[in-house]
C-alpha cells in the first residue's frame, strides 16, 4: 500500500513531476504537493464544482480524479489564467461586477467559464447557465456571474 506513483504531467504549461499515493486525488496533489491552492475542496463528491480544473481541455472535478491518473496529461488551474500580473478579462469582469462574495466557488467558476468561452466564444445566456450548472455558488444568486461571463464574451469577441 505504500507504493508511490511517479507521475509526469504538465500544469499550467510547465512540466511537473510528483510522487503520490494511490489514495490521493488530483486535488490533493495540487493543493498539498504542488502548493496550488486555487482549486478548492467543497463537497469532495463531484457536486459543487469548486475544484474544477481542465485536464486535456476537458472540464473536470479534481476531487474525483486520482493523482495517478494525471500521468501524461495537461492540467490547467485558476493559477494559470492570468498572464503574470495581467488579469484575464474574465477575472477583471468578476471584480468589476462583484461577481463573488465569499470567493470559494470563484476559482472553479473562472476555470469553467474560460473553458466555455474557448469552445463557444458567442454563448447564449442559456448556454452559460447550463455550462455553469456544475458550479455551485451559495452567495451571489448567479446573476452577476452570468452577466460577467456574457459581457466578457462580448468584449473578447470585439478584441479578436
Amino acid at each position: 500500500m505504500s507504493k508511490k506513483f511517479h507521475v509526469s504531467t504538465t500544469v499550467n504549461g510547465d512540466p511537473v513531476e510528483f510522487l503520490c499515493d494511490s489514495r490521493e486525488t488530483v486535488l490533493d496533489v495540487l493543493r498539498d504537493r504542488l502548493s496550488l491552492t486555487g482549486a478548492k475542496e467543497g463537497c469532495g463528491t463531484g457536486d459543487c464544482g469548486a475544484c474544477s480544473i481542465t485536464v486535456d481541455d476537458r472540464l473536470v472535478c479534481a476531487c474525483l480524479m486520482l493523482g495517478a491518473e494525471a500521468e501524461g496529461k495537461s492540467i490547467e488551474t485558476v493559477e494559470g489564467i492570468a498572464a503574470g500580473e495581467d488579469l484575464h478579462p474574465l477575472q477583471k469582469r468578476f471584480i468589476e461586477y462583484a461577481a463573488l462574495q465569499c470567493g470559494i466557488c470563484t476559482p472553479g467558476i473562472l476555470v469553467a467559464a474560460k473553458n466555455l468561452l474557448e469552445k463557444h466564444p458567442d454563448p447564449t445566456e442559456e448556454q452559460v447557465r447550463y455550462w455553469l450548472a456544475g458550479n455551485l455558488c451559495r452567495c451571489t444568486g448567479y446573476d452577476k456571474i452570468i452577466r460577467a461571463v456574457m459581457d466578457t464574451a462580448a468584449e473578447m469577441r470585439e478584441a479578436s
Binding site: 489514495r23 486525488t25 463528491t45 474525483l64 480524479m65 486520482l66 491518473e69 455550462w131 450548472a133 456544475g134
Partner: protein, 287 residues
Amino acid sequence: MIPAGFEYHRPADVASALAILTTHGDEARVIAGGHSLIPMMKLRMAEMGHLVDLQDITELKGISVDGDTITIGAMTTQHELITSDALAEAAPIIREAALVIADPQVRYMGTIGGNVANGDPGNDMPGLMQCLDATYILVGPDGMRPVAAREFYEAAYFTAREDEEILTQISIPRPAPGTGYAYEKQKRKIGDYATAASGVMLTVAGGTCTSASIAMTNLADTPIWAEAAGAALVGSDLGEDAITAAIAAAKDAIDPVADNRGPVEFKMHVAGVILRRAIDRAIARAG
C-alpha cells in the same frame, strides 16, 4: 484523500484487466469514469484492495453505426455520446438523455458503461437501454456472453454481471427511420437524479401505432421496462384512451419509495405526467 488504501492498476487491454480480476476475486473492482465509485470510496461505502482503471483500454472506446446495429464501447463518455453526429443521426434519444445527466464536469468523465453496469436505479442510461432493447456484452474468464438490458437488472446495485466479468460493449438495434422518441426527466435541479423519468420510442403508420417501447427510471429498485404500457399503445390511434391506458399500465409496473424527492403518491403522479409528456413528444416526432 481516499481513507482506505488500495493498489491501483491501469491495464492496457481487456485480457490484462481480466487477469487482475481473476487473481484477486472480489477484492478487485474495475473503475470507469469513477464518478460513482470514487465518492463511494471516499465515504467508505466501497472498499477494495485492488482498483482496476479501464481508461487506457482503447478497445473499450468509440461509437460505430454499422447497418442496423449501433455499437458503443463501455468507456465512451457522456460527452462523447452528446457530440457524436453519427449517433445523433442513428438514435437521437441517446443525446437527449445524456444531456439531462448531471453537469458538464461529470459528463466529461462519466461513461455509458459505468452508468449501465453500476446498477444504480437513479441512473438514466439503464432505462433508456431497456427502451432501446440494447444488449450488454460481458467478457469474463470463460469468454464473452451477451445479456439483454431488459434482463440485466436484479435489484439496486445487483446485476447479472459476475465479479470477474467486465461490461465491454453495448449493442443497440438501430431504430427504424421515422421512429418517434423522447426521454423526459423531472428533477429538482440540474445534476439531480430523476424524481421520475421516462423513455419512449414508437412508430406510427397511417395513424395507427405499429410499435412502442416504454421504460421508467428511478421509480423502482431497478429500471422498469413497462411492456404492458407499450402494448397499450400498439394498434391504437394514439388517442386519449390509449395514452391513459398506457400510463395506467406503467404505474402498475413501477414501485417508487418515499425519499427526499417526495412521497410515493407524488412520485406516482409525476411518473404519469412525465410519461404523458414523453408520449406526446414521441408522437409529434414520429414520421
